[in-house]
């Protein structure tokens, strides 16, 4: 049996009195593209942010390739920490969060150079390849403020890929984009899926989820309410809640 890349066991997350995640059990297998859908406030963003410990779980555990991760940066007693986890698990944000004081090239090389201690030449060679891959070879010397939203998000994807991660977490990466710019970002993600990249995609783009995901989760009230193939979830929803949720998108 192949080992799950990321496993969540009985994961809960509360913000004060508000319980956002209510006991999540989940295995993300290598090569899998997991789509996560659900109404706002259902906990899907919190779920994906727990997967690289951007949010620390209130209880439960996170295993990376079978190893429990300690909720400290460096880990303890032979247990790897969040620092180690984040070297292997990349994340792309809704609002890009590019570093505005650095060029596109430096944005992409920052992780490899500072965290992985790669030398500049090596990191820049990789970065140029990645920028070509996301269609921005000519923007290496530009600053983020000179880019469109779609271009920024493609740089952010290249920045995450520069760490050569085992998993890429995509948190509503097209939600802040103008509609005409969504396609170019989805194109890049689709290409990654085609190369076998393991991904978790939180999205409101149902058509895209159906198209690119190998498995879809429907989140509701901090639980995984329904899961299955895109076909099962999006075309033959079982619960009334999911049917109601989807009908709002088809309308």
């Amino acid at each position: 049996m192949t080992q799950a890349t990321i496993s969540l066991r009985g994961l809960t997350k509360s913000f004060g009195a508000l319980q956002v995640l209510n006991g999540i059990d989940l295995d993300l297998m290598p090569g899998e593209v997991l789509g996560v859908i659900g109404p706002s406030g259902s906990g899907k963003s919190t779920l994906i942010r727990c997967m690289n410990m951007m949010e620390l779980p209130t209880s439960g555990s996170l295993l990376f390739k079978g190893q429990a991760i300690s909720p400290r940066f460096r880990g303890k007693d032979g247990q790897p920490g969040m620092g180690e986890l984040r070297k292997r698990v990349g994340m792309v944000f809704q609002h890009f969060n590019l570093f505005p004081h650095l060029t596109v090239l430096d944005n992409v090389t920052q992780g490899p150079r500072i965290v992985l201690k790669e030398d500049r030449a090596e990191a820049e060679a990789t970065a140029h390849d990645l920028l070509a891959q996301v269609g921005l070879a000519d923007k290496a010397q530009a600053y983020p403020s000179h880019l469109s939203g779609g271009q920024k998000q493609r740089v952010a994807i290249a920045r995450a890929l520069a760490m050569k991660p085992d998993v890429l977490l995509l948190d509503e990466v097209t939600s802040a984009l103008d509609p005409e710019l969504v396609g170019e970002v989805l194109g890049v993600i689709r290409a990654l899926a085609g190369k076998g990249m393991t991904m978790v995609i939180v999205t409101h783009e149902m058509g895209f989820a159906a198209d690119v995901a190998s498995r879809v989760l429907f989140m509701e009230q901090g639980r995984i309410a329904e899961e299955g193939t895109p076909e099962d979830i999006l075309r033959n929803p079982k619960s009334e809640r999911l049917q109601a949720f989807l009908s709002r998108f088809h309308a």
Partner: protein
């Protein structure tokens, strides 16, 4: 009609020069020490330990909410009595000025750091950076730009605040002007000249602050 006589006063120009030199020394010394103190207090206030935050906060409020002149007099006249040691006016003056400006710098530094969107810290964390790495490579380079105008303004005030050292007989520009005055009996010329000298030192600095402020607004 008053008969202006700058000639008499200018004969004591060497006294003014001593004053300017001393003023500059105290300014540079207290700004340098103040930056160290301010950075320490700033990071103490961002600490995750409440006792450290409380300590830094108490220091800041103590120095921000009492007049500098009272602090200087207290450090020179009262503190030695309390500790039973003698403190020279140089040490009392430099230390008080540094602690005073440090309390304001700490707030400027903290404001600059807090003004950086939290998405920046998250993006740095997401590529595996530690807290220190993200501060050093991502947050501070952006924050420094935001802090610069306020930092220069506070430093301009600091140059003027050295004039309060007059009260403990430190030979800075204001004190030396009073010496010139008592030698020449020409207060109008002496103090006018002192004002011009302060202005000449500070006007370029305020222009630099304006320049950075304009540049910052453009890049936003």
């Amino acid at each position: 009609m008053y008969h202006w006589d700058f000639y008499t006063v200018l004969q004591s120009f060497d006294l003014f020069l001593i004053g300017i030199w001393t003023t500059l020394l105290y300014t540079i010394g207290s700004i340098a020490l103040g930056v160290v103190i301010g950075l320490t207090a700033c990071f103490a206030r961002l600490s995750r330990f409440w006792a450290v935050r409380l300590l830094a906060r108490s220091y800041q409020e103590l120095f921000r909410c009492t007049p500098l002149l009272v602090q200087i007099l207290w450090a020179y006249y009262a503190l030695p009595m309390l500790l039973g040691i003698s403190i020279s006016n140089t040490v009392a003056g430099l230390l008080t000025l540094s602690l005073y400006v440090g309390s304001f710098y700490a707030e400027i530094f903290r404001g600059g750091i807090n003004a950086i969107d939290k998405g920046q810290r998250e993006a740095a964390a997401a590529i595996g950076m530690s807290g220190v790495q993200s501060m050093r490579y991502i947050i501070l380079p952006q924050a420094v730009k935001k802090m610069l105008p306020a930092f220069i303004n506070q430093s301009v005030i600091q140059v003027k605040n050295t004039s309060l050292l007059y009260a403990i007989s430190i030979a800075e520009l204001t004190y030396m002007t009073s010496v010139v005055n008592s030698e020449t009996y020409r207060p109008l010329e002496a103090y006018s000249l002192a004002a011009v000298m302060y202005f000449v030192m500070l006007f370029p600095l305020t222009q630099v602050a304006d320049h950075f402020e304009r540049r910052m607004r453009r890049s936003d």
